[in-house]
Subunit: 326 residues, 2 copies
C-alpha cells in the first residue's frame, strides 16, 4: 500500500461487494472458519482459517464466477460464457452457467490436474485444452468467443469477479471481527483486490498481506517497482498462482495491500502437510502459501489475531508432495 496515494475512483467499493453477496447467496456456501490450538501454540498467534476449500467445488472461485455469470444481460446469456483457467475458476464458471442454464466453454492448459478436469466435465463445461501459457489460453478463449458469441469471464481481470471474491472477506470479518492481519495468496490478484477492499472498509485497523511463491513473485516485484511487471516464467507447485497480475488488480494491490511476502517451495510443501494434519482439510498447494509465510518467519504474527483464506481444496490425492520424501 503506497502511503499517501490517492484512492482511484476506479477501485472496487464495499457496496459492490455487498451487492455481489446478495446476488450469489443462493449458490455459495458460508464456509466454516476453523481454528487449531496446536497451530496457535506453534505460531504464537490466534489463527482463523476461512475454509474456502469447503466451498462448493472446493474453491472460493465460485464466488466471483457466479457474480459474473449472473450479471450477463438476459439478451446475451443464451450464447453462453467462456473462460480460461488452470482449474478452479473453470469449474466455477461451468457450475454457475449450469445454474443459469447456459453453455460454458472452458479453456484449460495442458498439465491441469486430473480432478480439476473431471470436475469441469461433470458440470457440463465444454473443455478445450491449450498450451500452458498465458498467450495460448487467451488466444483459445478469444477464438471460442468469436465463434460462439459467448461472453468472456476472465479468471481475475474482471470487476464482477473481483467483487464476488471479496465476499469471502465479509464472512471472515463477521466470524472474527477483531483481526489484526488478513492473509491471502496472490495469483492474478482477483481475490486480494476484493478482500482488501472489504478489510480496509470494515476493519481499517487490520493489515492486508499477500503471499506468493518466490517462483512466481510478480506481485512482490511489481509492488516494489511501483509498476506492473508481468510474470514470464513460474516455478512453483502452487498451480493456482502461476498467473500475472492485471493492471486493475495491481491498482488495488498498490492502494489497499500493505505488504507482500514470498515463500520457498519447501515451505509450501511443509505447510500443506501441517495444515492437513492440524485442520483435517485437503488444502491444495496454492492455499498453503500464506501459512507457509508464517511458518517461514516472513511475518511477525506473535500475539496477533490473523485471518487466513484457505483458497481451495482440490489437491491431487495421487501426488502428495511430502510423500516421496517420507
Amino acid at each position: 500500500m503506497r502511503e499517501g496515494r490517492p484512492v482511484s475512483s476506479n477501485l472496487l467499493t464495499l457496496a459492490e461487494i455487498e451487492a455481489a453477496r446478495e446476488r450469489i447467496a443462493a449458490y455459495v456456501k458460508r464456509t466454516p472458519v476453523l481454528t487449531s490450538d496446536g497451530l496457535d501454540a506453534v505460531t504464537g498467534a490466534r489463527l482463523y482459517f476461512k475454509c474456502e476449500c469447503l466451498q462448493h467445488l472446493g474453491a472460493f472461485k465460485v464466488r466471483g464466477a457466479t457474480n459474473a455469470v449472473f450479471q450477463i444481460p438476459d439478451a446475451d446469456a443464451a450464447r453462453g460464457v467462456v473462460t480460461h483457467s488452470s482449474g478452479n475458476h473453470g469449474a466455477a464458471v461451468a457450475g454457475a452457467a449450469a445454474h443459469r442454464g447456459i453453455p460454458a466453454y472452458i479453456v484449460m492448459p495442458e498439465g491441469t490436474l486430473r480432478p480439476k478436469l473431471a470436475q469441469v466435465a461433470r458440470l457440463g463445461g465444454q473443455i478445450t485444452t491449450c498450451a500452458p501459457t498465458q498467450a495460448a489460453r487467451e488466444a483459445a478463449a478469444a477464438r471460442i468467443a468469436a465463434q460462439t458469441g459467448a461472453a468472456f469471464i476472465h479468471p481475475y481481470d474482471d470487476r464482477r469477479v473481483m467483487a464476488g471474491q471479496g465476499t469471502v472477506g465479509l464472512e471472515l470479518l463477521e466470524e472474527a471481527p477483531e483481526l489484526d492481519l488478513v492473509l491471502a495468496p496472490i495469483g492474478g490478484g482477483g481475490l486480494i483486490s476484493g478482500l482488501s477492499t472489504v478489510v480496509k472498509a470494515v476493519r481499517p485497523a487490520a493489515r492486508v498481506v499477500g503471499a506468493e511463491p518466490a517462483g512466481a513473485d510478480d506481485a512482490a516485484r511489481s509492488l516494489a517497482a511501483h509498476e506492473l511487471i508481468p510474470l514470464t516464467e513460474a516455478h512453483t507447485i502452487a498451480d493456482g498462482l502461476r498467473t500475472s497480475l492485471s493492471a486493475d488488480t495491481f491498482a488495488h494491490i498498490e492502494a489497499r495491500v500493505d505488504q507482500i511476502v514470498t515463500v520457498s517451495e519447501a515451505a509450501i510443501v511443509a505447510a500443506m502437510r501441517v495444515l492437513w494434519e492440524a485442520l483435517r482439510v485437503t488444502v491444495e498447494p496454492s492455499a498453503c502459501v500464506p501459512y507457509a509465510a508464517i511458518a517461514e518467519g516472513k511475518l511477525d504474527v506473535r500475539g496477533k489475531s490473523v485471518g487466513v483464506v484457505l483458497t481451495g481444496g482440490n489437491a491431487d490425492l495421487d501426488k502428495l508432495p511430502w510423500f516421496s520424501a517420507a
Copy 2:
C-alpha cells in the same frame, strides 16, 4: 432392532443427552454438515455428512469424554482420570482433563498411529503403552487407577460417554430434520447407542444403521445371534473399530438400531479416497465405513435423505492406503 422388544428402563434417555449437550457446550464445536452434488449424483441419495473430523481434536470422542470428565464429583476430580484408547478417546480425555485442570493417564496400545500419540502428549496426557489387546489395555488402566485413585472413563462402556456421543445426533437432526436414514460406524458401540437414542426420540421415522468392517463384525454377529459375541480378532484398517461391544451398548443396539451392515477392506480404502476428494476432509479409515457400505451396495439409499457421521479425521498422512496402489 428387535421387533416387539420392550424398551429397557436402563437405556439412555433423550433428556440425558440434552443435559450432556448443555454440560459440554463450551468445549465442543457444532461441526459443519457437508454435502456433495457429486456424491449425490453417484449414489442417487441426498447425503448429509456430519463432520466430526472437524471437531476439536479431530473426532466426536471429545463429546463423550468431556461429558464424563465434567460429571466426576469435585471431591474425586483432583486424583485425575484414566482411560485406555487406540487414540481419539485418549486425546479427548486428556483434553477434557486439561480443561478441568486435573491429571489424565492414557493407556495406548502399541501400534497406535503416531499423530494420535503426539496429540495426547501435547494435551498433557501421561501416556502408558501396552500390548494391543483388550485385556492388556484394561489391566494397565486398572493398575493406574489403583495406584493413583484416578477415575476410570471407559471409551464407550460408560453411560456418560454414550450420552455425550449422542449429542452429535441432536445437531445432525437440526441441520437435516427430514432424514430417512442415519448411518454411523460401530466400534464399541458408544456413538451409535447415543445417536440411536436421539434419532428414535426426535425422528422416529428414520432408520438407524450401523456399519462395521467385515474383519471386525462383532456387532453384526451379536445382533444376528441376539447375544453378545465378543470380538476375538480384528482384521481391518479401521483402527478405531477394533473393539468389542459391551453389554450396555449391545442392549442399545438391540433396542434401537435397525440394521448392521459389513464392508470389505477394499471398500473402506476406496471410500476414503472418494470422500477426501469429494469433501476435501481427511477422514480416517474408521469414519469411511458407512460410506463404504453405500458404495458397496449394502444399503438401498436411492431417493433417500441420509445422514452419515464422519467420526474422525486423524489419518496417518504418511501412510495413505491408496497410494501404494497408484
